[in-house]
């Protein structure tokens, strides 16, 4: 890909992930966005487009953000060309990359803002009890006909995946628990993490069973947060921004299904399309697996972290559990992975999980990751677009140098 059509991240900002009932989603949005614009070192007149990820269960905020509220907040009226929302769950950020590429190829100004904000703690104030109950149905709510009558929610849906994955591969409960342990070790060094406590395999297995084989410490908790990224072309980034991070290669997975029982390969233990996505991203970036310094892959639940390692070719099928349990993905391990603690330990950003994954990638590549910095990190492989119903996994290879 030419540098004029390749993307670069020239600004990034985030707020802590946690439970902040006094923080409105709109307040978080404007504060994080100003931080990102300043981080990029651009003038507000140079913003060509703003793409927003939908906040969870916040109709008023969604309406304002998807229209042009931010144009007013930032005084962009005479400059900005596009504002809008792109909704594809956690995978929406991949479509935002596509929209951003369209802007850098055809429009001026060529700086694009990607923004996510959400206030989960504010849901009880916004919704009546019956609507909260509806929200709690989570992924089943669209399938009021065929799924919700059976009492499934997002935890039990992933429990179905985890059970079959263990059945197929012989992965043990201890190995799965070790994923949560690895994530929590990283989160202890992440000042923005909601769950920065020390956790052992025993702690995980002793926590409440939510849906067998998943324990409470293996289930992500939706949290409040906001993240903003400023993108432009790699060509422009070379001469601007403090420390640009380049998107050296991208690979698109497949959107395989909406409902779990419609998954076309009839195999819950595999992620079709991910291995091809990694191959094409590596090829485009001109690098090999062994060149990768850090993996920043959103998983949300332990089973997806293991499946990602296997499908991406870093572990043989069925061996990722032992690989993680041996400490390879933990701080000091040979393949640092999910250095922010992933959704499980950092706190779950809803449709903004990819934003957190990319933000963490930027920190690592700039050398700004503090105590959890992977020394000399030059290349990050990121699974940045992923959805909890695991219908899609898209990857990007990010680098501090344009090769």
């Amino acid at each position: 890909m030419k540098d004029s059509s390749r993307l670069a991240i020239i600004g990034a900002a985030a707020l802590p992930v946690g439970w902040f009932p006094d923080q409105l989603g709109m307040d978080a949005a404007v504060l994080v966005l100003r931080k990102a614009i300043r981080d990029a070192g651009i003038d507000k007149k140079e913003i060509g487009a703003i793409y927003v990820s939908p906040p969870l269960a916040d109709e008023w905020l969604e309406y304002h953000l998807s229209f042009a509220r931010l144009v007013d907040e930032f005084g962009l009226g005479l400059h900005n060309k596009f504002t809008g929302q792109i909704q594809a769950g956690g995978a929406g950020i991949k479509s935002m990359f596509g929209a951003a590429r369209g802007v850098i190829l055809t429009e001026e100004p060529k700086n694009i803002i990607l923004l996510h904000t959400q206030s989960v703690s504010g849901i009880p104030k916004r919704l009546p009890p019956e609507a909260i109950e509806d929200f709690a149905r989570d992924g089943s709510r669209q399938y009021i006909e065929w799924e919700y009558p059976y009492g499934m929610n997002s935890d039990s849906r992933v429990a179905l995946v985890t059970q079959r994955y263990m059945h197929e591969t012989g992965t043990t409960a201890e190995q799965l628990a070790s994923v949560a342990v690895s994530h929590h070790k990283w989160a202890q060094m992440n000042p923005f993490a909601r769950f920065g406590n020390s956790v052992t395999i025993k702690d995980v297995l002793n926590s409440d069973v939510v849906a067998e084989p998943l324990h409470d410490l293996e289930c992500s908790k939706l949290s409040d947060t906001a993240t903003a990224l400023v993108l432009t072309s790699a060509e422009r980034a070379k001469s601007m921004g403090k420390r640009p991070v380049y998107v050296l290669g991208e690979g698109s997975g497949r959107c395989t299904h909406f409902s779990i029982v419609q998954k076309p390969d009839k195999d819950l233990s595999r992620l079709p399309g991910l291995s091809e996505a990694v191959e094409s991203a590596l090829k485009e970036a001109g690098v090999k697996r062994e060149d990768i310094d850090v993996i920043e892959a959103h998983g949300g639940y332990p089973v997806f972290t293991l499946m990602e390692l296997e499908e991406m070719g870093f572990c043989k099928r069925g061996s990722a559990g032992a690989f993680v349990m041996d400490g390879n993905t933990s701080p000091g391990g040979k393949l640092p992975m999910c250095t922010n603690g992933d959704s499980l330990a950092e706190g779950h950003a809803g449709f903004g999980t990819g934003f957190r994954t990319l933000y963490e990638s930027v920190l690592q590549l700039r050398g700004d990751a503090g105590k959890r910095q992977v020394q000399g990190a030059k290349l990050v492989l990121s699974v940045f677009a992923e959805t909890e119903a695991f219908m899609q996994f898209d990857v990007a290879i990010l680098g501090k140098d344009l090769v």
């Binding site: 006909e145 065929w146 059976y150 009492g151 059970q163 079959r164 069973v209 849906a211 029982v261 819950l268």
Partner: protein, 137 residues
């Protein structure tokens, strides 16, 4: 019949034949007359070949547990009284997957690949939900 507090299936013109048969404890699925593939959930046209030529056929009602979980906490409110309960994906002999509950057995006895057969639960006077129970292989 005692008041049923859990969510009722939303019955639409498309799914009406399915629920009408369910009341008689018959499990219907769709089959494409053009490409011969079975279809579930009910659809307006065949998702494989996009043909309109779908017909309702009676399923054997037999299949096996593809995967399962036992819900033990943190479930939608009206399901709390049922804890623990089993949510499963059953692969029917015809090949399609159904999300369901495994009933008429101890939840701890459910296993992957376990043979099961349909067991209808009359949840109201007019609606029956297909669930599955263990069967001899």
């Amino acid at each position: 019949m005692a008041e049923y507090k859990k969510p009722l299936p939303q019955i639409t013109p498309l799914s009406e034949p399915f629920y009408k048969a369910a009341r008689e404890h018959k499990l219907l699925i769709q089959k494409c007359k053009d490409c011969s593939k079975y279809v579930f959930y009910p659809k307006h046209f065949c998702p494989h070949c996009l043909s309109d030529n779908l017909e309702w056929v009676q399923s054997s009602g037999k299949g096996k547990v593809y995967s399962y979980t036992v819900c033990r906490s943190n479930v939608p409110a009206n399901f709390a009284a049922d804890l623990p309960y089993s949510v499963a994906i059953v692969e029917l002999d015809e090949g399609v997957w159904m999300l369901t509950n495994i009933v008429d057995c101890n939840v701890d006895d459910v296993k992957c690949d376990m043979p099961v057969e349909v067991a209808f639960e009359d949840i109201t006077d007019t609606i029956a939900l297909p669930k599955f129970k263990p069967r001899a292989a």
